[in-house]
């Protein structure tokens, strides 16, 4: 017998869409995805976010960078050299007498020894936001700074010409305490400390400017107050400017990049492993046709009401009620076992049981009717006694039956 004979050559029978139909169906989402990716790429290229790592960078256009200052100095005829390692910076100084060296270390990669090499490197050395190591190496008497934000200093309060010209500045950055240093000029001093400390370089000719108020060289603050005046005045003092921001390449022993430590095929093989994993996922993940659904009938467990009632008894401590239920069951089975019939009352059953077991009538009545359990332990004991009574009666009845069967 044949169930059905279906010919599948009609296109209506095929559930799986053709490649073209699938593409058309997904066209909207493909377009949306492509647009999203394009938008993200364009957005990422145009607005580089100001990350902390690129602070003071000569090519960084974000508010935390210093591109504006360097560009302005270049337009003013200053010869600007940008260096990213200490060796590079020192090598760029051809004529120390006519050079300003600006050094910043936002990633805190330089060691005290490296800072010491800046001593006497140029006629004017400016350290932007000097870390504790730099202060300790170059100006031991100056106490390293504490961070300052949202601070404006209205008066230079010192004899440094550039500071006097600037007037008021944004002092965000770190504040330095130069009170213990002899011969140091502390400018823009507030309650936290000074924004600029100028002193002689310890081991040579030339001035050392510790510029704690780092905001004055950043793009975001260059246009406000006298920031530009101070920054241009300090950095444009000499015809040559070496702008040095320390990079990870300054790390001790960082000469060999990580990529030279392992063979060249490791990266491509990692990519290949990723591709193999992807291919394997597609291979195992492609199922052979859709899942077939089936409506299953509802399944109800019969004991649910019983379990619920048992928990109700237990939580509300209905011991007497529970025991009575057990007693009724026992009485019914006893009555059946003793063939007393359904009309037998409790007293008849108790009397009959006492007769067959020889137990005390009052004790039996207490067990089967009267006694009230005070706690759960007593309930369990009573229930065990009921079971024991049932067993005893069953045994006696069986013995009697055998005796009856044997006697005639």
């Amino acid at each position: 017998m044949t169930i059905t004979a279906a010919r599948a050559d009609a296109p209506a029978g095929v559930v799986t869409p053709t490649v073209r139909r699938a593409l058309r169906r997904w066209l909207f989402w493909i377009v949306v995805a492509v647009l999203l990716v394009a938008f993200a790429a364009v957005y990422g290229l145009t607005t580089r976010t100001a990350s902390e790592a690129n602070r003071f960078d000569a090519d960084e256009a974000a508010p935390a960078g210093s591109r504006a200052l360097v560009q302005v100095l270049g337009e003013q005829g200053i010869d600007v050299v940008v260096a990213s390692t200490l060796d590079e910076a020192l090598a760029a100084v051809d004529d120390p007498g006519a050079t300003t060296l600006v050094a910043a270390d936002p990633r805190a990669v330089l060691t005290a020894e490296q800072w010491q090499r800046l001593d006497g490197a140029a006629a004017s050395v400016i350290v932007i936001e000097p870390p504790a190591l730099a202060v300790g190496a170059l100006a031991a008497e100056v106490a390293p700074g504490i961070p300052v934000i949202d601070a404006v200093r209205d008066e230079a309060g010192c004899s440094v010409p550039a500071a006097q010209r600037a007037g008021s500045i944004t002092a965000d950055g770190v504040a330095l305490d130069a009170s213990a240093a002899a011969g140091a000029e502390a400018c823009f001093t507030g309650s936290e400390g000074s924004g600029l400390v100028t002193l002689e370089q310890p081991g040579g000719e030339g001035a050392l400017h510790l510029l704690g108020a780092s905001a004055v060289v950043q793009n975001g603050f260059l246009g406000v107050q006298g920031n530009a005046a101070l920054a241009l005045g300090l950095a444009g003092e000499h015809p040559i400017l070496v702008w040095y921001v320390a990079s990870p390449a300054d790390l001790a022993g960082g000469d060999t990049p990580l990529s030279e430590l392992y063979p060249g095929w490791v990266n491509p093989v990692a990519w290949l492993a990723l591709t193999v994993g992807l291919a394997a996922a597609i291979w195992r993940g492609r199922r052979l046709g859709p899942v077939v659904i089936e409506n299953l009938p509802v399944v109800v467990r019969t004991t649910e009401t019983m379990e619920g009632r048992a928990r109700l008894y237990a939580t509300s401590g209905a011991r007497l009620r529970a025991l009575d239920a057990l007693r009724v069951g026992t009485l019914r089975r006893l009555a059946d076992g003793l063939a007393l019939g359904s009309a037998a009352g409790v007293d008849d059953i108790v009397a009959a049981v006492a007769g067959i077991t020889g137990r005390d009538l009052t004790g039996l009545r207490a067990l089967l009717v009267d006694r009230e359990p005070r706690d759960d332990g007593e309930l369990v004991r009573l229930s065990d006694e009921l079971l024991e009574l049932e067993r005893q009666v069953r045994r006696r009845v069986a013995l009697d039956d055998r005796a009856d069967g044997a006697s005639p």
Binding site: G289, V292, R301
Partner: protein, 441 residues
């Protein structure tokens, strides 16, 4: 589109050129080569859409039995169709194997055989057939799912049929065909036949014996042939079975819903009553008649019954018992045995049944066949700790409720059979035989 494990292996093989050339371009080139090979291979595979599929196989199977189904695949394309095929049935149809290899040369036809072992009653459907055709390089393939409708009706198991021979033997004993020839209530005269040794002397019909001998003969003439009367139980009675398929029938006891137990009981009773010469009418009812078999006899009866019962699942509705008397009236006008297959649980859920019962019991003999739960008995006996004592108390309470309902049914003129799921069908059959023997039908 689908790729194979060989394609994954091919991609992994790219580690050789990448390591030898030590270059990222080797990686890019290898992946591009793999993609090209994959596309070419998929394009060279035979189109699964061009396959012509036909099903054949039986349309009925009894639960727990297995049946072979065949799928004929004709390759309509000009390439060799090689790959994997999956015949997707509903999970409970129990098809095996789930997927099979397929290799059909161009323009030829092959049979794909599988076995169905359904584990659920009802109408089981085949949703679709999925073919994945693999290309000649075995790297990639094309896949399509094709709707090929098919269905098989899974009939109730009727496991209770093993009780049938013993009950039929008892029926024959009741019947005049054996030598028990005691006249009782509810028996009717069947025939006269010659006495054979072993017959009860009380059944000798002296008047017929005299007639046969042609009057009192002379003494010493050969002994006249003694005639005995045989009796047989009354026939052509009417048995009406109402199976409750409402909310309470959905409960599952010992791996079988109450409805399935009711079906088993109905099938055994029907088979027995039909052999006994009675008419059997069955209706499955909750708030409407879900299935009805009337006026069928013999082999036709059982076939119709299982066919009607197969797709019926319990509904989560309260059974409307007030409509049952009218239903019974529409099925029979004479006095009948009305069997109600429904659980007797708590007084609350059986109030409607109890209210309706006098209307039926006034005219008919009413038997309520109820399944009891063996879990209740075992729970009542377990008193090992505090929680189980409370559970035992709840179980005793539930059994007491059921007994009260049964007593109420008996007071209202009905009769009650309760038993565990496996024992209920023979218990109902035995009660029917008892009625038959006592002539209460």
């Amino acid at each position: 589109m689908a790729i194979t494990g060989w394609f994954v292996a091919l991609v992994a093989l790219g580690v050789v050129p990448v390591v030898v050339l030590e270059s990222g371009w080797a990686y890019v080139g290898w992946v591009a080569l793999c993609l090209v090979l994959m596309t070419v291979d998929a394009a060279l595979a035979a189109s699964p859409r061009a396959a012509v599929l036909e099903r054949s196989g039986p349309d009925r199977v009894r639960l727990t039995e297995q049946v072979d189904v065949t799928l004929l695949v004709t390759n309509g394309s000009r390439r060799r169709l090689r790959g994997v095929i999956r015949d997707a049935w509903e999970p409970s149809a129990g098809i095996s194997p789930r997927r099979q290899r397929l290799d059909v040369p161009a323009g030829e036809r092959r049979a794909v055989r599988s076995v169905l072992r359904p584990w659920r009653r009802g109408e089981r459907r085949a949703a679709m057939v999925t073919i994945r055709a693999i290309g000649p390089m075995r790297l990639a393939g094309r896949q399509a799912s094709i709707l090929v409708p098919g269905a098989i009706r899974v009939l109730p198991e009727f496991a209770a049929r093993r009780h049938l021979p013993s009950r039929l033997a008892r029926l024959r004993e009741l019947d005049g065909r054996t030598s028990i020839m005691v006249r009782g209530q509810g028996t009717e005269f069947d025939s006269l036949r010659e006495y054979v040794r072993g017959d009860d002397v009380r059944s000798i019909d002296w008047r017929a014996t005299a007639r046969r001998a042609g009057g009192p003969g002379p003494a010493g003439s050969p002994a006249p042939t003694l005639m005995v009367r045989t009796w047989r139980p009354e026939r052509d009675r009417h048995v009406v079975v109402i199976v409750d398929s409402g909310r309470t029938a959905a409960a599952r006891i010992a791996d079988e819903t109450r409805l399935d137990t009711a079906f088993e009981s109905t099938l055994l009773l029907s088979a027995l009553a039909d052999r006994a010469g009675d008419r059997v009418d069955v209706a499955v009812f909750d708030r409407r008649v879900r299935g009805r078999v009337q006026g069928a006899r013999g082999a036709d009866l059982l076939a119709k019954l299982v066919d009607t019962m197969a797709p019926i699942d319990p509904e989560l509705l309260e059974t409307d018992w007030t409509a049952v008397p009218a239903l019974v009236r529409s099925m029979t006008s004479q006095r009948s045995l009305v069997v109600l297959c429904t659980p007797l649980e708590s007084p609350g859920s059986t109030r409607q049944l109890l209210a309706m019962l006098p209307q039926l019991s006034r005219k008919h003999l009413v038997l309520v066949a109820a399944v009891t739960d063996p879990a209740l008995l075992s729970a009542a006996e377990d008193r090992s700790d505090r929680a189980s004592v409370y559970r035992a108390a709840a179980a005793e309470r539930a059994m007491l409720d059921a007994q009260r309902v049964a007593a109420a049914v008996q007071r209202l003129g009905g009769d009650v059979v309760t038993a565990a799921p496996l024992e209920l069908p023979p218990a109902v059959a035995d009660r029917y035989l008892a009625y038959k023997a006592a002539g209460r039908l």
